[in-house]
């Protein structure tokens, strides 16, 4: 053991204070620890106070992400005037307390206890050898060099030998190194809220168990919380074993969902030779506060995947082979092609699509390219197909296109109304926060046709599950408001003081046509159940609405967003912690890409292109006359392409051929264009129709910012240099310059943010330097004295008074028929992300190797379908084949699938229907028929829908 003493301790640049910080304390107490005075909030543990005072107390079962447990007996201290040797983790500080942490009594006790731990801890523990085991560090700290009881030499010599559980693709469990401190069990329960782990047996026989099976077969969701909490190497990332301990770390932001978790990328090597050893969630991350999910924590390997394209490529026709070329040749071909199209077909014949997976800075320059260099407003973003109705609806009602709260606000919610969202799969780290609040007693209403996990899961049960039929959301939300208003449960004072058009709205919503009884046939909700839910939301204390794409992806998506805003306003649930209207954004930078002016009618900061003063700001700065008319949205681009008036498209980081609805229509439009430029990590489905391919950079190579669903601007920092030779914003600028717009130059991404701040009031106080200093900021940040705005609309709405909109229910034209009697709705699964371009290139496929069709037992039985059968899924626009999963999660008449795999191509069957205000596709409502597939059909589908990358 002495030979190992020079090794570094466990890699953790963040100080572990031992117990969580006390947030809500009013009073401060003063304590003296080993002669050092420290003031801490009342309720703070002695262990934490000591750490804050710079006094290190040995510990094993304590960590500051978990409530104190008091079992390891390592953190014992003596307190003047008190009897015994209390555990400092479970002992709160009291004013005037005097503590000794290094008396002979406690030193002897700790040493004895450590000897007992070591007596069953193998000398060949690879974590100890590697410096990834706290036992080693603690043994050194307490001076337990000798073990009177002997030590097992190898892991097979410990008292109870068990096979190492290697079932999880990302981490292993070796019980020989385990000290049964329960940190993993508590992390799984208290932080993640899954309760997959337990302690089996008693005393010396006790053992950590994943519910009596291996980790992969258990309820474990592979969030990594147990691995992070483990003080030994019993639970350890396999990457640590393969690569060894990291030598440096970079603080950055996850590139998956809209939660926007902060991570410490722990790395070996420098420059191009760098290898990411592991991603560790940052305790200081405002969005995640030290937690993670299986995607952000483990699924980063795609950045180094063999499918990654690292060179620009061109071809004359989409039937030709790709030819690798220099950046100069590729950029020149783009510029010449786009200019030729404009010369022949007009300025508006080309456009661009920016990506919500790219940084704010990258997105900003794409919209600048389109507006200033292309000379039109044909810029759109993938938010078109997810949260564009949020932008429209919240701007109309509140005055700005963003959610009202920070994530932490959920800790003050008393009633959570969750509509059309499945956070445990799509926003898992936020779901853990939500579940924690629910375990504390908040009450839950779930409005979703599918019986999502939150309806009933360990220690969480929705008080009401309202299985709203797809397409009936507006009727549902109106019925909720109808009950509240007609039963006098609304907040009359808030409505009168804070809202406009109140009388008209109140009269509209009180009409009997909006009652739960009148709308029951439309919504499928029993009137009494809906009334009870409405009463609970209105009277249960702080009511918070959280919603997802089950709201927006409808023909009345925007109306539904306004309906939810109405509901929050009539109950006064706006402008303080614990309430609000909260969109759960799909991709990491959906909020940011919208903020950065990616919509064809708005400049950055959601300012309409027709406003002379706003256009003037950019015309002066960019030196170009700008188009005052809105441009084409993505679906409009497709229509215009088929009409022959739109001929060239620059697509940054989006796979519209897989993600957008009605694939046949999209592919026909792409084929109709003269020049398609795809900038991406991989040759995606859309690249099959491209003439120029530009290699993009992964988040591990980017320097910039992402803005998450709570408007939090987080830094993205390069972990290693770009693998393709250029940053993505440089590529975009090079295209602009090649097209004759010479002013498109920046020295750094920071300089782009400076331009954003200089031209966008809500970002005025944002800069890389300030973000590096304070960590993150939630916009609006009006000046450099502000650190942001966690809660919006506190004293007044951005638009002045809130607008109560008469949200008339208009049924979708997409209805079930005799030919297509079922309704298909689509969604996501935990382990995969969006079109799967990233997660399919990781071990996450272990959990979800293919998309499946969930179908109710009654619908399955009448079609002779069993779980595992291949079935044909057909709509009026197309058909595909996938495997069935008979499930009572679905109501009869509704089937469900995901769109993560190109082979399945779920969007082959979705239609052109879209939201009336924004053209967001109606993914959630497609009339379909399902039947057992025949073998020939399966083969044909598989051949025609082979993924693009296999053709690379």
């Amino acid at each position: 053991m002495t030979a190992q003493m020079d090794l570094p301790s466990i890699w953790d640049p963040e100080v572990d204070f031992g117990t969580p910080a006390i947030r809500a304390a009013v009073d401060t107490v003063s304590v003296t620890i080993d002669g050092r005075s420290v003031d801490v909030p009342a309720g703070t543990s002695v262990l934490r106070a000591a750490t804050e005072a710079g006094v290190s107390i040995p510990k094993l079962c304590a960590t500051d992400s978990l409530k104190a447990f008091g079992s390891c007996r390592m953190c014992l201290v003596e307190v003047d005037g008190a009897r015994g040797v209390p555990a400092s983790c479970t002992t709160p500080c009291s004013d005037g307390m005097v503590v000794s942490t290094q008396s002979e009594t406690v030193r002897d006790l700790r040493k004895n206890v450590m000897e007992l731990y070591l007596s069953d801890h193998p000398e060949d523990c690879d974590g100890c050898a590697r410096g990834n085991c706290e036992i080693q560090a603690m043994a050194v700290q307490v001076g337990a060099a000798e073990v009177r009881y002997g030590r097992p030499e190898t892991r097979t010599d410990v008292a109870h030998v068990h096979a190492v559980d290697e079932s999880n693709p990302y981490f292993s469990f070796d019980s020989s190194s385990c000290i049964v401190c329960s940190r993993c069990v508590r992390a799984c329960a208290d932080i993640q809220g899954t309760f997959a782990l337990t302690v089996e047996g008693r005393g010396f026989d006790s053992k950590i168990s994943a519910g009596g099976t291996d980790f992969l077969a258990s309820e474990c969701v592979s969030c990594g919380a147990c691995v992070q909490a483990c003080p030994t190497s019993a639970l350890q990332e396999k990457s640590i074993v393969q690569l060894g301990m990291p030598t440096r770390s970079v603080e950055t932001t996850c590139a998956y969902c809209g939660v926007g978790c902060s991570f410490r990328a722990e790395v070996q090597g420098e420059g191009a030779e760098s290898k990411v050893v592991r991603m560790v969630p940052s305790k200081s991350g405002g969005a995640n506060e030290g937690h993670s999910c299986v995607k952000g924590r483990f699924a980063y390997g795609y950045a180094a995947h063999k499918d990654r394209q690292l060179s620009p490529m061109v071809r004359e026709s989409i039937d030709d082979e790709w030819r690798k070329v220099s950046w100069d040749e590729a950029i020149a071909k783009i510029a010449e092609g786009f200019k030729a199209i404009q010369a022949e077909h007009g300025v508006g014949a080309i456009g661009g699509i920016s990506s919500s997976r790219c940084t704010n800075e990258e997105v900003y320059v794409v919209q600048k390219l389109v507006r200033a260099a292309f000379g039109n407003n044909n810029i759109d973003t993938c938010a078109r197909v997810c949260h564009s109705p949020t932008g429209y609806g919240l701007k109309q009602t509140f005055g700005t296109s963003a959610g009202t709260q920070d994530f932490r606000s959920v800790e003050k919610a008393d009633v959570i109304l969750l509509i059309g969202a499945n956070p445990t799969d799509a926003h898992p780290v936020f779901a853990s926060r939500m579940k924690k609040r629910l375990r504390e007693g908040a009450r839950l209403i779930v409005a979703d046709p599918r019986r999502i996990d939150l309806v009933r899961s360990p220690h969480v049960e929705a008080e009401h599950h309202l299985p709203v039929l797809p397409g009936s959301n507006v009727a549902f939300v109106n019925a909720m408001a109808h009950v509240i208003v007609t039963e006098g449960l609304h907040d009359e004072e808030f409505v009168r003081e804070r809202c406009e058009d109140a009388d008209d709205y109140l009269a509209f919503i009180a009409d009997a046509s909006n009652s739960p009884e009148a709308t029951a046939e439309i919504t499928g909700i029993a009137p009494e159940e809906l009334r009870a839910a409405a009463r609970l939301y209105a009277t249960g204390g702080n009511g918070a609405i959280y919603y997802g794409l089950g709201v927006t992806e409808h023909s009345q998506g925007s109306t539904m967003v306004m309906g939810m805003a109405n509901l929050a306003m009539v109950t006064g649930n706006i402008g303080r912690e614990g309430v609000g209207v909260n969109p759960l954004r799909g991709q990491n930078n959906v909020q940011g890409s919208c903020d950065m002016g990616s919509f064809p009618h708005e400049f950055p900061g959601y300012r309409h292109v027709s406003l002379d003063d706003v256009r003037g700001i950019y015309e002066k700065l960019w030196g170009r006359t700008l188009d005052p008319e809105p441009g084409l949205r993505i679906p409009n681009m497709f229509d215009a392409a088929l009409a022959g008036t739109f001929r060239g498209l620059y697509i940054q980081g989006e796979d519209i051929a897989q993600s957008d609805p009605n694939t046949q229509h999209v592919e026909a439009a792409l084929r109709a264009m003269d020049l398609i430029v795809v900038q991406d990590l991989f040759l995606n489905e859309t690249a099959r129709f491209a003439h120029v391919f530009l290699p993009g950079t992964s988040f591990l190579e980017k320097d910039g910012t992402f803005t998450n669903a709570e408007r939090r601007i987080n830094r993205v920092r390069p972990v290693f240099p770009t693998k393709v030779g250029m940053d993505e914003w440089e590529i975009t600028c090079a295209i602009g310059r090649a097209m004759g717009y010479e002013d498109m130059r920046y020295d750094s991404a920071a300089e782009i943010m400076d331009e954003i701040a200089a031209t966008t009031h809500t970002f005025s106080g944002v800069s890389f330097a300030r973000l590096d200093e304070v960590g993150s900021m939630q916009w609006p940040v009006f000046d450099t004295t502000s650190t942001g705005t966690p809660i919006m609309h506190v004293d007044g709405f951005v638009r002045g008074k809130g607008l109560l909109v008469e949200t008339v229910f208009v049924p979708t034209t997409e209805r079930s028929t005799r030919k297509f009697p079922l309704i298909l709705t689509t969604g996501r699964i935990l382990s995969q992300y969006n079109v799967g371009a990233q997660t399919r290139r990781t071990e996450n496929n272990t959990w979800h190797p293919e998309d499946v069709l969930e179908i109710h037992p009654a619908d399955a039985e009448m079609r002779g379908i069993s779980t595992g059968d291949l079935v044909d899924l057909a709509s009026r626009v197309g058909s595909t084949t996938l495997r069935a999963q008979v499930s009572e999660r679905m109501p009869a008449g509704v089937v469900y699938t995901t769109f993560h795999h190109p082979v399945t191509g779920a969007n082959v069957v979705t239609t052109e229907n879209s939201d009336w205000a924004t053209n967001c596709p109606e993914y959630k409502v497609t009339a379909v028929q399902v039947g057992v597939a025949n073998a020939r059909g399966d083969e044909a589908v598989a051949q025609t829908r082979e993924p693009a990358e296999t053709h690379a």
Binding site: Q556, P600, H601, E629, R876, W916
Partner: protein, 71 residues
Amino acid sequence: MMTVPPEVRMGNQIAQQFANLPPAEAAAAIARHIENFWEPRMRHTLEALVAAGDDSLEPLLVDAVGRLVAG
């Protein structure tokens, strides 16, 4: 498969959303929405359909397009 021009489908959809308002108010709201969010060539297509007397257009939409043309 798509026999209805997209401008007709989208325009009628917008008209239905405002159908609860008094007709003049509704037509103004529809016109405002189209002006704010539709690219000019889409507006021109719709104007041409109205000029051609396309009978699949909602009357409120026709009224709104008239207002757009009148400026």
